[in-house]
Amino acid sequence: MRSTTIEILFPRNLSEALSIFSDAKENLKIIAGGTDVVTGIQQESKRFIDTEVLVDINRIPEIKGIEVRKKKISVGAAETFSDILRNNLIQNELPLLWKACSSIGSVQIRNRATIAGNFVNNAPCADTVPVLLVYNATVEIESLSSKREISLQEFLQGPYKTQLNVNEIVTRINIPIPSKTFVGDFYKLGRRRAVSISRITLAVLMDMRGGIIDEIRIASGAVTPIGARLTGLEKFAEGKEVNDRFFKTLASKMGEEIIKITGLRWSSEYKLPVVQQMFYQLLKSIEQRSL
C-alpha cells in the first residue's frame, strides 16, 4: 500500500500537458480512466513503484470527442468506452470496435476506462487491439517538440512495450472508414459471461467479391504474446474461393501460424484447438450473414 504521497496535475489543454511532459522523467505517469493505474499504485506494482507525479488527462478537450476527419473516424485518446458505445458513428461504421468495447469489464469500468489506456500498456488481453488492427488504425502522438502519426501495428512493440517516449502522449486514434463491402466480426472468449479477462480474442474483416476473397484482415489477441495481425494467413487467403473446405484449411493454418509466433505454453493445449475451432465458426457466421 502506498504511503508516500503522489502529486497529481490537471492540465486544462494540450499545450499545458505537453509542457509538463517536456521534461518528464520515469517518475511521471499519465492517468486517464485509472482502471490500470490506480490498482497498480495500490498494489505497488513494478511499473508504478517510482511514480511521484500523475498527470490526469481527462480534462483536455483536444484528446476527447469522436469526429470524422479526412475520411477517418478520429477518436480522442481519452474517450471512455461508454462514450464510444453511445456514439452512432462508431455503431454504424465500426461495428467491430463497438462490439469489442461492449465486451470490456463492467459498466463501472467502461464509464472510466479509455481507449488509449487500453493499448498503451500493450497487454496481450487488451480487447480493442485486434479490432483496431484490422481497421488499420493509426495513432497520433505528440510531444512539445514533435507530432507523429504511426500505425497501431508499429506502435505496439512487444509485451508491455510500445514506441511511446516519456515526453509523449497519445492524442487520437484515427480509423479509416472501411468500405461497405467489408464484412466482419469480433469474437471474445472469457471464463464467465461478464467482467472477464479474455482467453481468446479474434477480429476478422473481409471483402468478398463473387465468392472470392478480395481482401481479408485477421488479428488475434490473448493467444499471441501481443495482439497482432496474422499477415501470413491473410496473404494465403487472398484470391481464394470461399467455401467450407477452405475455411477449415484457413483455420488450421491459423493454428500453425500461432504455434510459430507463440510457441507452446501451459495454456496452448486448450487455446490452440479452440482458437482454430472458433475462427472457423467466426468465418462461417460472417459468410452466413453476408449471403
Binding site: R192, R193, S285
Partner: protein, 793 residues
C-alpha cells in the same frame, strides 16, 4: 399442518432492510473509536517452513509502530481451534500454510504499517510440502503436526450388512473416482474486527463474527480472562456462509491481545487478498465409489472411500466429514454399505464449515453415479432413483428408521420432473457417444473432421439430482437454543436469540414466529443487537439449524408469555374455564364472546397487575445417538428432501457451459417467510452453479493463485438465466410448526444436477469439478506454473 397462519408463509420484508438499503447499517469496518489503532500481519511466502528467527531491529524504534505483538504477548492459550487446539494465534516456530501469521504490527497508520511489515526480517528454512491429500498418510510423509502422531485428523465409518457379499450378488458393478476443488466462501465483506480495552471490565469486541459465543470462548482463553470479561457484539455481517467462524475467532483474539497491550482500541481489517489467503474454505474431496446393482436397478451394495483435504488445521473437519459419512450413500435404501471418510492434514489452506457442510461433495459423486447406473441399464435417471428412494419407514445406511416426518423424496422428485418436463427433454437430448472431440497435443493443428458444424456447436442438456439432509447438528453435538422475549406495555416486543444473523434473514424469521404466536405484526417486534452479555449461548449458527432450533425457542418464549396473557384475560373479563382465548391482528378474542380487547390493552393490564412479561424460551432437540465404533445410530432427528433439475447449453467448441434454468424443489417443512425462502433458493443455486462451473482455489508450491475476484470467479448477474423455486411443505412435529431448514439444501444439489445435464448434452461424463473450459474440452485442468496477478496472466 392445517393451521391457518396470519403472517407465517407470507412475504415479509426483512427487519434490517431499511438500514441496509440506506447505507446506515454498520458493518464491522464501519465502526470507529477514539484513539483507534490498526494491526497489520506479518507473513512469509511459504506454505511449510521452520522459523529460525524474526528480526524487527530495523523497524522496532519506528514512531509509526505502537507495539509489536508476537506469541510472547499472548497471556493465555497459544493454540486454539473449534475442536482440536492445533492452530497457533501467532506462528513463531513453524508455518504450515501460506495464511499463517507470525506477528503483528500495531500503529495508527495502516498504510505505513503495511510498508514497515515488509522490513521485518524472517529467517526460515523451507520444509517439504504436502499438497496432495492422497499422499498425506504415506509412511514417508512429513508430519505437519508432530504431536498428532500422524497426518490423520479423523476417520469415520458407516457399516451396514456386508458389502463384499452384496457385490457377489450383484448383476453389475461400477467403480468411479470423483474429485471436488477447494472453495472460497467469497462473502463480499472481508473480515474486520475491533477490540476495545475496558480496564477491569476486560474487553469488548465488535466484528464480522458469525458465532459470538465461540468467539467469546476463544478470546477469553487466549487473553486468559473469565468469559464474563469478554463481551462480543456482532456487527451486521456482510455474508458468511459458514466462513466467519474460526478465522474471526482468531482475529478477535489477536485484536484483543493487541488492544490490551497497547491499551487502545485496535482494529484488524483484511484486504480481499488477505481474506482469501488466511480464511478457511470448503474441503476438496477425493471420492471412490463402488456400487453393485441388479438388472432392475436395485442397488445391492455400495462401498465408498473418501479422503477430505483438511488443510493445515483440524477446524470443523471432524464434524464436516461426519455429515459426509452419514449421507454419502445418498437418499437411497441400500442393504449393504461400507463408507469410510478420512480427513487429513496437508499444507493447503485449512478447511472447515461452508454452506453444505460435507454434503455437496458426496452428492456430486453419488448423483453422478446414479445417472451412470441408469445409463448402464438403459433406464431413465428418474426410474433409477425411484427404485432406490428412501420412503416412510425406510432404514438409512446408519440403521436409522425414518419416521415422525413426511419422507417426501419421491414427492419432490415428481414435482420437479413435472415442472421441468424432464423425461421428454432428457430423452430428446440424450447422446449415445461423446460429442466433444479428442485432441492430440502432439498434432495441435486441427483436421477437417475435428471442426464442428455451426448448428451443432451448442448442445442442450438436462439433468437432475436429489438429496436428503439431516437437520441441525445431529449427533455432532448438544443441540439447544434459547430466545429472550419481552412484551412492553404498549404491545411492542423485544426479541433476541442466542443464534446469530448471518445475513440470511434469521431475525426476520424469528420476528415472524413471535408475531404469529402473539397475533401481532412482525414490525412490532424489535430485534436487539446480538451481544454475548445479554443472552444464553445457543450454540453455533451452522447446519441450517437457526430456523428449526432458534425458531423452536422463539415459539416457546412467545407461548409462555401468551399463556400468561391469556390467564389475565380470562380473569379480567370473567371468561369461563373452558373458553378459549386467542390473539389475532392485535386483538384478543374469546371463542364464546368474540372480540374482547386490544392486544395492547391486555399488555398494559398485565403491567398494572405486576405480571412478568419477559422470558427466555428454550428448545432442545429430541435425542439422537451415534456409536462411532460401529458407525450406527439415529444420526439426525429429522430430515429434509430436495430435487433440482438443471438445463444447460454447452458450447462443444470452447467448453462454455451456460445454465439456462434450474428448477429447485425443496421440502423445508413449513415455510415461515416466503420472500426469505425464495431468496435462499436463488442464492444457494447460484453458489452451487459457481461450484459446478468455475470456482476453485489452486496452489503452486503451496501458494494460492486466486487471491482476488479477478482470478477467483464467482457468478455474476449474467451467468444463470432462470431459477424457479418450488416448495413442498412436508409435515413435521419439530421446531416452530414444523419449520426445518433450507439454506444448505439449495446449494448442495446444483453442481450434481448441472454435471448430469452436461452429460446429457455432450454424451461424456465429467468426474472432476469445476466443469470449466479446459475440463469440458480436454477432460483435465490446466494451470500456469507461475503465480501472477490479473491481466498479466
Amino acid at each position: 399442518m392445517n393451521k391457518e397462519f396470519s403472517v407465517v408463509g407470507k412475504r415479509v420484508i426483512r427487519e434490517d432492510g431499511f438500514d441496509k438499503i440506506t447505507g446506515r447499517a454498520k458493518f464491522a469496518d464501519d465502526y470507529k473509536f477514539d484513539g483507534m489503532l490498526y494491526a497489520v500481519m506479518l507473513r512469509i511466502p511459504s506454505a511449510h517452513a521452520k522459523i529460525n528467527s524474526i528480526d524487527f531491529s530495523e523497524i522496532e524504534n519506528n514512531e509509526a509502530i505502537s507495539a509489536i505483538i508476537t506469541s510472547a504477548d499472548v497471556p493465555g492459550i497459544k493454540k486454539t481451534g473449534l475442536i482440536k487446539n492445533d492452530q497457533p494465534i501467532f506462528c513463531d516456530e513453524k508455518v504450515v500454510t501460506p495464511g499463517d501469521v507470525l506477528a503483528m504490527l500495531v500503529g495508527n497508520s495502516e498504510n505505513e504499517l503495511r510498508n514497515l511489515v515488509k522490513k521485518a526480517k524472517v529467517d526460515y528454512t523451507e520444509l517439504p510440502l504436502i499438497t496432495d491429500p492422497a499422499k498425506a498418510l504415506d509412511q514417508e510423509a512429513i508430519l505437519i503436526h508432530p504431536d498428532n502422531g500422524s497426518n490423520l485428523i479423523v476417520n469415520h465409518h458407516v457399516k451396514k450388512g456386508d458389502v463384499e457379499k452384496g457385490f457377489e450378488k450383484s448383476d453389475h458393478i461400477l467403480e468411479q473416482t470423483y474429485t471436488t476443488p477447494l472453495i472460497e466462501h467469497a462473502y463480499i465483506e472481508p473480515e474486520a474486527v475491533t477490540a476495545i480495552p475496558l480496564g477491569f471490565n476486560g474487553v469488548k469486541i465488535i466484528g464480522s463474527i458469525q458465532n459470538p459465543f465461540t468467539a467469546r470462548r476463544i478470546v477469553a482463553a487466549v487473553i486468559n480472562l473469565p468469559l464474563d470479561k469478554v463481551q462480543i457484539i456482532q456487527a451486521h455481517l456482510g455474508g458468511s456462509f459458514g466462513g466467519k467462524d474460526d478465522t474471526m475467532c482468531i482475529l478477535s483474539a489477536r485484536a484483543a491481545v493487541a488492544a490490551l497491550k497497547a491499551n487502545c482500541p485496535v482494529k484488524i481489517r483484511y484486504t480481499r487478498e488477505e481474506s482469501i489467503l488466511e480464511s478457511y474454505k470448503r474441503h476438496p474431496y477425493i471420492m471412490n465409489y463402488k456400487v453393485g446393482f441388479s438388472n432392475s436397478g436395485k442397488i445391492i451394495a455400495m462401498k465408498i472411500n473418501i479422503i477430505a483435504d483438511g488443510g493445515a488445521y483440524a477446524s470443523m473437519s471432524p464434524f464436516v466429514t461426519w455429515r459426509s459419512v452419514v449421507q454419502a450413500t445418498g437418499p437411497y435404501e441400500i442393504e449393504n454399505v461400507h463408507t469410510e471418510v478420512r480427513a487429513v492434514y496437508t499444507n493447503n489452506p485449512y478447511t472447515g464449515a461452508m454452506r453444505g457442510f460435507g454434503s455437496p461433495q458426496p452428492i456430486f459423486a453419488n448423483e453422478s453415479l446414479m445417472d451412470e447406473i441408469a445409463i448402464h441399464l438403459g433406464i431413465s435417471p428418474v426410474e433409477i432413483r425411484k427404485v432406490n428412494a428412501l420412503k416412510n419407514g425406510s432404514i438409512t445406511a446408519t440403521g436409522q428408521k425414518l419416521e415422525n416426518h413426511d419422507v417426501n423424496l419421491i414427492q419432490v422428485l415428481d414435482k420437479a420432473i413435472y415442472a421441468a418436463d424432464f423425461q421428454n427433454k432428457w430423452r430428446a437430448n440424450k447422446k449415445e457417444k461423446p460429442l466433444t472431440k479428442e485432441f492430440d497435443f502432439n498434432n495441435p493443428v486441427l483436421q477437417d473432421y475435428q471442426y464442428v458444424e455451426p448448428d451443432k456447436l451448442i448442445q442442450k442438456g438436462i439433468g437432475l439430482a436429489v438429496s436428503y439432509r439431516g437437520c441441525s447438528l445431529g449427533a455432532e453435538g448438544i443441540d439447544t437454543a434459547s430466545a429472550y422475549l419481552s412484551i412492553q406495555n404498549d404491545g411492542t416486543v423485544y426479541l433476541l436469540s442466542g443464534l446469530a444473523e448471518n445475513g440470511q434473514g434469521m431475525r426476520t424469521t424469528f420476528a415472524i414466529i413471535a408475531a404469529e404466536a402473539l397475533g401481532i405484526l412482525p414490525e412490532q417486534i424489535f430485534y436487539l443487537e446480538t451481544d454475548t452479555s445479554r443472552i444464553p449461548d445457543s450454540g453455533p449458527t451452522v447446519a441450517s439449524r437457526s430456523t428449526l432450533m432458534g425458531g423452536g425457542a422463539v415459539r416457546n418464549a412467545a407461548e409462555i408469555l401468551s399463556g400468561r396473557l391469556k390467564k389475565i384475560v380470562k380473569e379480567e373479563f370473567k371468561l369461563s374455564e373452558e373458553d378459549v382465548v386467542s390473539f389475532r391482528e392485535n386483538l384478543v378474542f374469546s371463542r364464546k364472546k368474540g372480540l374482547t380487547a386490544k392486544f395492547s390493552e391486555v399488555c398494559k393490564l398485565a403491567y398494572s397487575l405486576g405480571i412478568n412479561l419477559a422470558t427466555i424460551g428454550y428448545y432442545k432437540s429430541p435425542s439422537v445417538h451415534w456409536d462411532e465404533k460401529s458407525g450406527h445410530g439415529d444420526a439426525y432427528f429429522t430430515y429434509v428432501y430436495g430435487c433440482q433439475v438443471a438445463e444447460v447449453s454447452v458450447n462443444i467448441g470452447t467448453g462454455e457451459v451456460y445454465v439456462n434454468k434450474i428448477t429447485a424443489v425443496h421440502d423445508p417443512g413449513t415455510v415461515i417467510n416466503k420472500l426469505g425462502a425464495e431468496g435462499q433458493v436463488y442464492g444457494g443455486v447460484t453458489q452451487g452453479a459457481g461450484y459446478a462451473l468455475f470456482e476453485g482455489i489452486t496452489t503452486e508450491k503451496g501458494l494460492i493463485r486466486e487471491l482476488n475476484f479477478d482470478q477467483y470467479l464467482i457468478p455474476t448477474s449474467k451467468d444463470i438465466d432462470v431459477i424457479k423455486p418450488v416448495f413442498v411443505e412436508g409435515k413435521d412435529s419439530y421446531g416452530a410448526w414444523g419449520a426445518k431448514s433450507l439454506g444448505e439444501p439449495t446449494l448442495e444439489l446444483t453442481a450434481a444436477a448441472i454435471s448430469n445435464a452436461v452429460r446429457n448434452a455432450v454424451g461424456k461424463r465429467f468426474f472432476n469439478l469445476p466443469l470449466n473450459l479446459e475440463e469440458i474440452v480436454l477432460g483435465k485442468k490446466l494451470c500456469p506454473q507461475e503465480v501472477k496477478r490479473g491481466s498479466l496472466q
